[in-house]
């Protein structure tokens, strides 16, 4: 799989896809898009990178443990749902908004970002486990 063409296109596409995934995430509030799709798009970028590079390089690039990233995402999504009930005694997942200049920021964005992290983390976990068979248990016993 590791050909020159794939390697060179990945170099260009990797950044492009990541930027596109963030754009999809942000546009998701009023238009088609959002955390889930954005996360999937971002994970295609990482999957491409896993194809051409050593899994160790990918882990070094991502830095955070993918499984813990997914956990953090889920935590963020749950917390975003709890802000409404805590601030105003409203039901679970109620939207709370702050206006900063012309931009409205709210808990749904936080929720979407959480979903984004869950998807990226989960796909990366699977992909890396498949690419480096047998390496995971060894890494675990060191911990």
């Amino acid at each position: 799989m590791n050909t020159l063409i794939l390697r060179e296109t990945t170099r260009v596409l990797f950044t492009l896809i990541l930027v596109f995934s963030v754009a999809t995430l942000l546009r998701g509030h009023d238009a088609p898009g959002g955390g889930f799709v954005g996360g999937l798009i971002a994970s295609t970028a990482f999957s491409l990178y896993i194809f051409v590079a050593d899994p160790k390089d990918v882990r070094r690039l991502v830095r955070a443990d993918p499984l813990k990233t997914a956990a953090a995402g889920l935590a963020l999504a749950i917390l975003s749902g709890l802000i409404g009930p805590i601030l105003g005694g409203r039901p679970f997942l109620s939207g709370e908004w702050v206006e900063i200049g012309a931009v409205e920021l709210g808990t749904p964005l936080l929720f979407d970002f959480g979903v984004y992290l869950v998807v990226v983390g989960a796909v990366l976990t699977f992909a890396l486990e498949i690419k480096e068979p047998g390496a995971a248990p060894a890494a675990d016993s060191e911990e």
Binding site: L67, K68, A70, A71, L74, G84, P91, F92, S94
Partner: protein
């Protein structure tokens, strides 16, 4: 009080997050998981008590009113299912304390287990059919993670079949939901109940209904879509297969009951007729499969299938008594079935084998374990006065009352064969002398033995209690059954009284 509904789903998921972030400190993970299970049990009890006192509870997530947002609904059936899930989750976690975690290979058991419990509760509590699909997907991911943990070849083999069939099921479910949305323009189940009555093309509605039969049928492992179940359920760790056996297929049955009482009641003769045949064939093939096997967990896996037949039978007859029977059957069966898997696991651990050919002498060496096997096994076969007797009695009485004599005969015959199967385990595994070639397993320490047996004792006690005092559970099942037969209360609770009236008037004109 919407937090009660939401927290039944959020608490297990949140504890899964905490568990993941505490990786790899296993002792802390166990503590978190155990605490979450205790909390979940408390929430589930509070939920059932509240529903019992005040009727159907509804929460609109994010303050989006029904039918536009996602609605969480707890009626008697849902809240009873949540409670039984919490009980089983607790039992599994306690059992796993000494069984799973001794094995260094099995890592990350608790987080996916908690995610599974959260997803199952989500499926029970949601009032939105697309949301139901989402919970099915979460369930699939969590159960896959549990199935393959341990990484033996047989497990991967079982997991691949399980995943392939599950993907087919969820694709069908999604197509069905899409078609339904195209016809009615709504995803809220209460709203769907009203809108499907206005759909002109009732034939297309029947086609969609059959898509749902297939999708939930694969999940519930009915005939002829069951073959993934015996292939995968005996491979993972005992605690995992116990919670799978108790819960997962029953989520399929629950969804079937929900959809075929609330949405697809336009042509009961056709749709429920198909369900009736399915129920009969499921009962027979399941029990015959069980009769032909010799490995404990394989026998028990086939019995899940045959028992699913009884539950579907209750739904297919579609009379109040039959639905009461189906609900009673599900609630009793979850406890009994999971317990049988625990007993099988404990037998394997204490006697060193799970194959009837090499097993023996359990009655002499482990009299307590033998007694604990007796309760769920003979309850499963429908022996009076154990809980299974009342469940079978209700279902068979309902089929006689609907003058479906042949299916009543099938149900009775299958009961006999179940008894044969349980007797086979009893005679070969427990009564006969231990074969000379069999090895003695390493003995367990006292506290570990206690941990291994305590969930079995508790579940057996519940089975006995239901058998000796069936009244309270019957009352609960009766309320649930009547709610299912008359969905107007459900619809009113979700949409509010005014909307119901206006749309009802609309349907009146359309008719």
């Amino acid at each position: 009080m919407s937090w009660l509904l939401a927290s039944a789903i959020v608490l297990p998921l949140a504890s899964g997050v905490v568990g993941l972030s505490l990786r790899p400190r296993r002792a802390v993970q166990q503590c978190v998981s155990l605490l979450a299970a205790i909390g979940h049990l408390g929430i589930a009890i509070a939920l059932l008590v509240k529903v019992w006192r005040e009727g159907i509870l509804v929460a609109q997530v994010g303050e989006w009113p029904a039918p536009f947002g996602i609605t969480l609904v707890a009626d008697h059936l849902s809240s009873a299912m949540v409670l039984i899930t919490a009980v089983l989750g607790m039992a599994t976690i306690v059992y796993a304390l000494c069984d799973i975690d001794e094995n260094a290979l099995v890592k990350d058991f608790h987080p996916p287990l908690q995610a599974l419990i959260g997803a199952v509760c989500g499926a029970f509590l949601t009032g939105d059919i697309f949301n139901l699909y989402v919970w099915y997907e979460v369930m699939l991911i969590a159960s896959l993670a549990l199935l393959i943990s341990g990484g033996r070849k047989a497990q991967l083999d079982g997991a691949v079949r399980y995943a392939a069939l599950s993907l087919v099921a969820t694709t069908m479910l999604l197509s069905g939901i899409g078609l339904l949305y195209g016809m009615t323009g709504t995803l809220n189940m209460a709203d769907l109940h009203l809108r499907v009555q206005q759909v002109e093309n009732q034939g297309l509605l029947s086609v969609v209904a059959i898509l749902f039969v297939f999708a939930f049928g694969i999940k519930a492992a009915v005939f002829p879509l069951f073959f993934w179940l015996p292939a995968s359920y005996h491979t993972p760790k005992v605690a995992v297969s116990a919670i799978f056996a108790g819960l997962l297929t029953k989520v399929g049955v629950y969804s079937m009951i929900r959809v075929f009482t609330l949405i697809f009641t336009h042509d009961v003769g056709y749709t429920h007729g198909i369900l009736l045949w399915t129920a009969g064939l499921t009962m027979v093939t399941g029990v015959l499969g069980a009769a032909s096997h010799n490995e404990l967990r394989r026998i028990l896996s086939f019995h899940i299938i045959s028992q699913i037949g009884y539950m579907v039978l209750g739904l297919a007859l579609f009379t109040p008594l039959a639905l009461v029977g189906a609900v009673f059957y599900i609630l009793h069966h979850i406890i009994v079935k999971a317990n049988l898997f625990f007993v099988a696991g404990a037998t394997e651990r204490l006697s060193g084998s799970s194959d009837l050919k090499t097993l023996g002498g359990v009655y002499r060496e482990q009299p307590l374990l033998a007694a604990l096997f007796f309760v769920p096994a003979f309850s499963l076969a429908g022996f009076p006065p154990l809980s299974g007797f009342w469940a079978k009695l209700l279902v068979i009485k309902a089929s006689l009352a609907s003058q479906q004599y042949w299916i009543a005969a099938v149900a009775l015959g299958v009961g006999l064969l179940t008894l044969y199967s349980m007797t086979k385990i009893w005679v070969n595994g427990f009564w006969k002398a231990r074969p000379a070639s069999a090895e003695e397993p390493p003995p367990l320490t006292r506290p570990n033995r206690l941990l291994l047996l305590s969930p079995i004792i508790c579940l057996a006690a519940i089975t006995l209690a239901i058998g000796l005092w069936p009244g309270p559970l019957y009352d609960l099942a009766e309320r649930a059954g009547h709610e299912l037969m008359d969905p107007s209360k459900y619809v009113e609770a979700v949409l509010g009284p005014s909307q119901t009236a206006s749309i009802d008037a609309g349907t009146g004109v359309a008719k």
